[in-house]
């Protein structure tokens, strides 16, 4: 059997104590151990961004991190984006602007965009494109995704 370690972490606002295999990535643990399957698996080499989550405020590829590395950290996944009153402005904007085609890249796009807006609440188109350059979308809704992030930024500002 693989060796496990116990880690303490906060995921989507909920404190958790998890026994994780030392060789498992954060992506493995999210998807396979605690059923947070919203985070997607595609390339597993840090190139597509489908597995993006926010760790202590920074967007990270969860396929590149070992789960033990999040000990003591705060993690937000796509399941943690929704607000009490419903979809977040960014989630709503993704639907209104038509940013969501097959949807498989969308959790990663949303997490990267959420982190971007936290750091830069008023981004330009170029800054959005640069901020999301690590998130591939084969449906190629890039134009709509950029518009959605802009719309969310404007909405939040008002």
């Amino acid at each position: 059997m693989n060796r496990t370690l116990t880690i303490e972490t906060t995921i989507n606002g909920r404190r958790r104590s998890l026994d994780v295999a030392v060789n498992h990535t954060l992506l493995d643990v999210l998807r396979d151990d605690i059923d947070l399957t919203g985070t997607k698996e595609c390339c597993v080499v840090g190139e597509c961004g489908a597995c993006t989550v926010i760790i202590d405020g920074r967007p990270m590829n969860s396929c590149l991190m070992l789960a033990v590395e999040i000990d003591g950290s705060e993690v937000t996944t796509v399941e943690g984006l929704e607000l009490e009153e419903g979809l977040s402005p960014l989630q709503g904007a993704f639907l209104d602007e038509g940013a969501t085609q097959c949807g498989f890249c969308i959790p990663g796009q949303l997490m990267a965009a959420t982190a971007l807006l936290q750091q830069n609440p008023d981004p330009t188109v170029e800054e959005i494109q640069e901020g999301l350059a690590g998130n591939l979308c084969r449906c190629a809704g890039y134009e709509q995704i950029t518009k959605a992030v802009l719309a969310a930024a404007r909405g939040v500002k008002q």
């Binding site: 949807g103 498989f104 890249c105 494109q129 350059a133 084969r138 190629a140 134009e143 950029t146």
Partner: protein
């Protein structure tokens, strides 16, 4: 209710932005075994022996499945030819073809054991990796002639040779004859969701889960392979995370089914992106085109010969060849045409359907050649196209007529790109015209249930893989029954629940399934009209139905109100069924005329960096004749998305092989697709809408149009900027730079 022509939030959107959408890999079957495939580090090899002893000792491993564990002769399957084995038997025929599959309690155990399966194999020389290899007189045969039936090509690597055309090209006079050859690379679908397959024994039948686009084709194939009635094969097809054609045809579903039956438990095989790269791709092609023109630029003939290099198994590639070849001469009026298209086997990943279905390959060559003719004749490149374009209702291929005002589309694109405006230095523009046949046959059934509370359920066997079919069917239902969009649930993806649909391909679903949904709604309207006639004592013939309203001679009601009054107090529902059938036409060379054409004009303006060869898309315009945009935003999403995908094969995508047939750039690091940083500076998609399509409200299919001729439009722009013609894709900086050097060296 004005649902048609509006752009509401996407059906299934909530799940997609919250992470709750269940894709295949998100479904956890209790007690499932995990499967890992074992493959070899070469394309063509003889399998001498497979020793699983050590692998089976890994804790948690149940068994290792090889050809020896399957029926003899090996069961084979495919949509056109039954040539693909469940697992490699005797010989591997492409890099990545599985020779064994491990079933274990955990992913870790399966992966560990897969590395311990010892395959004794002999690499075989003389693998076929190019058209030239395949057609060489002493070429080894990729497929055993015994499997090829009565084919007259059985002793060759040619699966079939298609001959189409009309008139006699040798009888035609021409002021100018141009001829050239072009190449189109192998590219892969790269859906962000890798392919996945699961199966579980289900009493005296089987349940299968797959990322498949065609659940009913899978059901048919599984039933045949397992000798089960269709009713005992239940296929679950959750919405795919992108398909683009790559998920049309079954791949490893039979393998997981045999494994599940052996284990007596569910089994699960989710491929990695890298593994997916080795299982699906677009056919590469070598295309030679020759065409004759009058001095004024009018076509006198066209002669096209295309060699499509398909993979080791035919999959649906032979249909790609015939369908694209048939309309390969494009939307032009040409008195004589001769077309030959060959389907050629090789020791490479089996190629399959891919957005555009063969048209991007032929379009690249044809449109590039037309530019050459225009240049030599001194005619504007836009004008030569307009001059020859078939007019509305004009037959341009025997048995097919132009189904739209195509000139309007071309003129719109030319206007948007600023055709004829002065160009700054290092810039160039190109324009190209593309045409793709829609489905030639079709069969779709739908059931709609108008529930007592005024909400509705729509059952449709289409796969919503991103095109937004859920939204479209809900919009049609809202329009016809007056039910608010938010109160409509569209059910898909389960053959035990949803009636039959032939397939989700060829941009058919809005037109064919859309018609079935609309007809199901019509049936409900009819039933409710009869209810109203009875309730209000009016002649049925005096009641009209319009957008969910029943118009009686002196008053009007909503469909829902009448239904509720008629069904009270027990409640219940009104059920409608709809069928849309496009029958086979046995005498037609393709088995049927096109239900519609996807017609597109793409125009591009580029700037070329003469030092590095880098191409910047300053502006990229795509205009499609869509009949009517039932959902304008979704049409734009499809058009933008297809254009950007087309820019992939135009500018950067291609498989690189070594001399043993191994793909050297597998995966996201080495195989690049466009990111948000690679987009045209200005991307503009537009629709021409004359409501002249065969679908509900005059719609035609969309989704593929704007990648049909991306390459020739951009290639022409690069040519104008550099003065160099490049005949091979993609137009990487290196290739463009090399072309520029030729210029300087005067070679």
């Amino acid at each position: 209710m004005n649902a048609v022509g509006s752009s509401p939030r996407r059906g299934g959107g909530y799940g997609r932005v919250t992470g709750h959408q269940e894709y295949l890999a998100d479904i956890k079957l209790p007690d499932a075994l995990h499967v890992k495939l074992v493959t070899l580090e070469c394309a063509r090899a003889r399998i001498n022996a497979i020793d699983s002893t050590e692998a089976e000792q890994v804790p948690g491993v149940h068994f290792v499945m090889t050809a020896a564990d399957l029926p003899d002769p090996m069961p084979r399957f495919g949509p056109q030819f039954q040539d693909r084995p469940v697992i490699a038997v005797g010989e591997t025929k492409y890099h990545g073809e599985p020779v064994a599959a491990v079933a274990a309690e955990t992913k870790d155990a399966a992966e560990e054991a897969a590395l311990l399966v010892k395959v004794d194999y002999t690499k075989l020389e003389d693998g076929i990796f190019s058209v030239a290899d395949a057609l060489a007189p002493d070429a080894v045969l990729v497929q055993d002639p015994a499997l090829r039936g009565a084919s007259s090509f059985a002793q060759t690597n040619i699966i079939d040779e298609k001959h189409f055309g009309w008139g006699d090209i040798d009888d035609q006079e021409a002021h100018l004859v141009v001829e050239d050859s072009f190449q189109f690379p192998m590219v892969t679908h790269f859906a962000i969701e890798p392919h996945g397959f699961m199966a579980a024994p289900d009493g005296d039948g089987i349940e299968v889960w797959s990322t498949i686009q065609h659940p009913y084709l899978l059901q048919k194939i599984m039933a045949k392979m397992l000798d089960l009635p269709l009713s005992k094969v239940r296929v679950h097809a959750p919405d795919p995370g992108g398909g683009f054609g790559g998920k049309q045809i079954p791949k490893f579903e039979p393998l997981v089914a045999f494994m599940a039956l052996r284990a007596g438990r569910p089994v699960r095989l989710v491929l990695s992106l890298d593994e997916t790269f080795q299982q699906v791709r677009r056919s590469s092609a070598e295309i030679r085109v020759r065409a004759g023109f009058t001095a004024e630029g009018v076509f006198t003939f066209m002669d096209i010969e295309t060699n499509f290099l398909v993979g080791a198994y035919v999959d649906i590639a032979d249909r790609v060849v015939s369908k694209s070849s048939y309309s390969g001469a494009g939307p032009y009026r040409i008195p004589a045409v001769k077309i030959i298209g060959r389907t050629i086997l090789s020791h490479t990943t089996p190629s399959t359907a891919f957005r555009g279905f063969g048209i991007p390959q032929i379009g690249w060559a044809r449109e590039s050649l037309i530019d050459e003719a225009a240049l030599q004749l001194g005619i504007d490149r836009l004008q030569i196209r307009l001059l020859n374009l078939a007019r509305y209702k004009e037959p341009f291929i025997p048995s097919e007529e132009a189904d739209g005002d195509w000139e309007q589309t071309v003129r719109t694109a030319a206007k948007r790109i600023g055709w004829g405006d002065p160009l700054p230095p290092n810039r160039g523009r190109g324009i190209a015209v593309g045409l793709k046949s829609g489905p030639t046959t079709g069969l779709s059934y739908s059931t709609v249930r108008l529930l007592y509370d005024g909400s509705a359920m729509v059952y449709a066997g289409t796969s919503d893989m991103g095109q937004g079919a859920r939204t479209i069917f809900a919009q049609i239902t809202a329009e016809e029954l007056g039910v608010p969009l938010d109160d409509i649930t569209v059910v898909m993806g389960d053959t035990s629940v949803v009636p039959y649909d032939q397939q989700t391909s060829a941009s058919r679903s809005s037109v064919l399934m859309g018609t079935a949904v609309q007809r199901a709604c019509f049936e409900i309207q009819g039933k409710v009209r009869a209810m109203a006639a009875k309730l209000y004592n009016v002649d049925e013939g005096d009641i009209k139905v319009d957008q969910g309203r029943l118009l009686l001679p002196d008053r009007e009601f909503s469909v829902v109100d009448v239904m509720q009054e008629a069904l009270a107090p027990l409640g219940g529902e009104v059920i409608g069924n709809g069928e849309m059938r496009k029958d086979k036409e046995p005498d037609h060379p393709l088995g049927g005329t096109a239900a519609f054409f996807e017609f597109n004009c793409t125009a591009s303006e580029v700037e070329v960096d003469m030092e590095t060869g880098h191409v910047t898309l300053v502006k990229h315009v795509t205009v499609g004749d869509v009949g009517k945009a039932l959902n304008p935003l979704q049409v734009t999403m499809q058009d933008d998305g297809a254009a950007i995908m087309g820019l992939g094969h135009t500018l950067m995508e291609h498989y690189i092989f070594d001399n043993e047939g191994r793909v050297r750039n597998i995966g996201a690091i080495d195989y690049r697709i466009l990111t948000s940083m690679d987009l045209p500076l200005d991307l503009h998609s537009e629709s021409v809408e004359n409501a002249d399509g065969p679908g509900p409200y005059g719609i035609k299919g969309v989704s593929e149009g704007s990648l049909l001729v991306t390459a020739p439009a951009v290639g022409a722009a690069v040519r104008e900027a550099t003065g160099k013609i490049i005949r091979d894709l993609p137009l990487t900086p290196q290739r463009v730079w090399e072309a520029l050097q030729e210029d300087e060296n005067g070679s």
